[in-house]
Symmetry: C2
Subunit: 516 residues, 2 copies
């Protein structure tokens, strides 16, 4: 395309815009294009701004609740289609349990409810009538579901029981609501499975965790660490918790990406989920629960977004390619527009998610900014020169690289470039994340790394008291440090290595840091 055209005035029909500048200013004012915060300077403000300007989120009049706009929902649906198909292959079936829980059931499992009680929202009235019994809104559905597992599971033939639901849950947190990351209502899937043996449960925990890794790494292009949570950080009432952990370099915080819990037999005991095995012996089931939520989308924004707005990985972007006509004075405007439509048709038929932006009242430059703000991975510009040369100009969102592609080779090259974008988003994120990882051995090194916003890998004695102690000693405005996870992929731990915090013999390498 012609250089300079992008900055020309919009071909606006507005009658009160007389000069180029007046027109541009007006557009700018009207639409609020461009971010006023920079990612590296003011991350929190930048994040709030980019999710709104990128049209993912609208703030709502109830604090901690957010409107998920179509640009968000299409990402959610893409991940959902993948995950839902995968769990169906595993013979996990979808169901839907009620939003409401009665207090008696909610409080059955003591450790569990202690973890959630302060955040539970209570319905006490309908219309003008006070309810006799207050009713809780599910913060998660273990206690909603398990009384019925007890009813449905009688013999070994009823096992395994593997259910999942896609739903909303409510946790009325009062600390720092943040779109996607910490909201009072969010969308998720929650899987709840019961097995005859611990081995089956253990195996499924890791199968699901692998799906979560794929969601982050293959779809959202975000590197994650698979590992096990500490006793202090595991799911309230469960046996052990595995997770995928991401990291936000800008804030130096870890973020729990998704969790797959083995609940052991604790809930089975509380809810009396027993079965009779082949030999007529009584047994208690082994249970798992696992979930990922719309939080995934927030991590994606934080990791990939830049000062021009969102950066969407092609695999999850609602629009992968946006085609923009760049007319110029007396050039063949109709020809250009037709070429745009033709390009959309070709790519669309080849299976890409592609749209054109033929609106006449916005300048190409305005459109570039608009679609950059929304993070569309690839922009195709078609101007008079492109038309003449039977080519299109292609611009990558992630690194602004430009290349001219002959129309004859459009599909192949777009495919290749989108695939490259997906890969290099992941590589770039991994490089950044890896730079943040610091291996330490002593408390001093730990404290230095913490103030340097690192994701800290340290040898640990694996004692709960020591983690509590680290928390207490690192308390401060930015929040205390805690364990993120003990990675499955363990570096060598030489004989005699000591715990960075307690000086006792270390048992494992564990990631530590501040977290969301």
């Amino acid at each position: 395309m012609e250089k300079g055209v992008a900055e020309s005035a919009p071909s606006s029909k507005k009658s009160n815009a007389n000069s180029k500048n007046a027109k541009k200013k007006e557009v700018k004012k009207e639409t609020g294009l461009g971010l006023s915060n920079k990612k590296d300077e003011n991350f929190g403000e930048w994040y709030s701004e980019v999710v709104v300007s990128g049209e993912m989120i609208e703030y709502y009049d109830i604090s901690g609740c957010y409107i998920l706009r179509p640009w968000t929902m299409s990402i959610w649906e893409t991940m959902q289609a993948f995950f839902d198909a995968e769990i169906k292959k595993m013979k996990i079936k979808n169901c839907y349990f009620p939003l409401f829980v009665s207090p008696g059931v909610l409080q059955r499992e003591k450790d569990h409810i202690e973890g959630f009680a302060p955040e539970v929202a209570w319905v006490t009235k309908s219309g003008d009538t006070d309810l006799d019994v207050h009713i809780a809104i599910r913060p998660t559905s273990e206690t909603v579901m398990y009384p019925y597992y007890s009813k449905w599971i009688r013999g070994h033939r009823d096992l395994p029981l593997k259910l999942n639901q896609w739903c909303n849950v409510v946790r009325w947190e009062f600390s720092h609501p943040t779109p996607f990351i910490r909201s009072r209502e969010f969308l998720w899937q929650e899987g709840h499975t019961a097995f005859a043996t611990k081995e089956e449960a253990d195996e499924e925990v890791l199968q699901i965790l692998e799906l979560y890794r794929r969601i982050y790494e293959e779809f959202l292009a975000i590197p994650v660490v698979k590992g096990k949570k500490s006793e202090l950080e595991k799911f309230a009432g469960g046996l052990y918790t595995t997770s995928v952990e991401a990291f936000i370099p800008n804030t130096g915080r870890g973020i729990q990406g998704a969790t797959s819990h083995c609940l052991g037999q604790n809930f089975a005991k509380m809810f009396e989920i027993n079965f009779e095995n082949e030999k007529g012996e009584k047994g208690m089931v082994w249970q798992n629960s696992w979930a990922y939520s719309t939080r995934t989308i927030g991590v994606m924004v934080m990791v990939h977004g830049d000062d021009k707005g969102l950066v969407m990985p092609p695999k999850v972007s609602s629009i992968q390619v946006i085609v923009i006509p760049v007319p110029f004075k007396d050039a063949d405007t109709k020809g250009i527009f037709d070429a745009c439509s033709e390009t959309v048709k070709t790519l669309s038929e080849a299976g890409f998610r592609v749209e054109d932006d033929l609106r006449e009242n916005y300048s190409p430059g305005w459109k570039y900014s608009h679609w950059e703000m929304k993070g569309v991975p690839l922009r195709i510009e078609i101007g008079p020169k492109d038309l003449a040369n039977k080519q299109v100009r292609v611009v990558r969102r992630d690194n602004s690289a430009k290349v001219d592609i002959p129309v004859s080779n459009l599909v192949e090259q777009v495919k290749e470039i989108l695939s490259k974008i997906q890969d290099s988003l992941f590589e770039a994120a991994k490089e950044k994340r890896d730079k943040c990882i610091e291996k330490v051995k002593t408390w001093d090194e730990f404290m230095t790394a913490l103030s340097d916003k690192k994701m800290i890998l340290a040898p640990w004695c694996d004692e709960e008291e020591v983690e509590k102690d680290v928390k207490a000693r690192t308390k401060g405005e930015a929040g205390a440090a805690k364990t993120l996870c003990t990675p499955f992929d363990q570096p060598e731990l030489p004989e005699g290595t000591l715990c960075f915090a307690s000086g006792k013999p270390a048992k494992k390498w564990t990631y530590w840091g501040r977290s969301y």
Copy 2:
């Protein structure tokens, strides 16, 4: 298959079952096979029993809330896949708005809130803390969404705005909760669209209504009448309501299947949803909202179910074909089991939803009953004779018709039979429904038809006071009669025809009856 084999004892491993009868009884007791209520004798009890025994619903410990089991969810997902794809073709986009509404917003539209106020559930506490402002749970999302429509819509370029969401809503009704049909929480989609002109809104109302008709008629095999609701029965705060109306012959009640509302400009006025048109003139948007819910599934159960259990239309059945081995004494059991697996493989590869039931501890007869209870459209039995003759025996759920099919022709014939089942379920339902339709002209005829549980088509003056009067005059234990809809497909109305209720000149033919 061999006659008699079906009634043989289960090859049970239970050690305490000594005689055939003892075994059979035990199985019966354990699993509760067979319905204790008959559809024609005790419809209400039959319905409650069939949704539970068919494993669609589990009753929950909070009244009016139900667990939707996988057998239900797969129907919902099938309809959702169809509808979601259709509305995406119409460029309607999915979004997700919060579950919660603040009271100020909820009460903005007076007529609307009057319709819903008594049923609104209120959250007043989180943890032990009383909330300063009570928060409502959405009974529907007009008031949740439209303040943001006002924000997002500025000029004609922002129109049309077409959003949909799949979500749960809560209506805390106290009258006769019924699974699917009237529950305190239910799943639905709700579409909310805004247009520059009434013409566009009118057009969309009917496009959506046609999709609802297709869900009922093409998927659930239930005949519906498309029409317009009376002023008294239209959506609170809207301009006019269209609906698809089904009818339950057993109870003689109409049931509103789904509604597509034109809201006119009433909400636009209340929520100030204005825009500037091409000429710079101010305008107010025209809005629609439309929804269908899990109620659809209840109607399906009521219309097709019989004394053996559910009857599932093939298009929505999670399992379309169940394959059951019928071993016999010294017959080649392995050969039979292999033939079953092979049949599943063949049909599965041809795109059918098919499973086998190879469980060794249940008799063929028990399995027949089990899958009949769940309503699986087609059963394939494979016994020694079938094996020898390279055939399978096929049994239809809807009419018990049996036919032997050569294995060589399996796919074609199964396809044809499933298609026939889908059609004849619809035809049978239509025939039954049509028999219930009675055209009346006078009050006496009307009252007779009403007590005969008819769906009554009557000439009406279309006055709200007259409908109120009919309601008052027909009040009773079974509930008052009201208008169901004025069908778009109008019979001829001869000049001079009088209203059946008021004796004034009739303006149209309208369906009346008792309803859910």
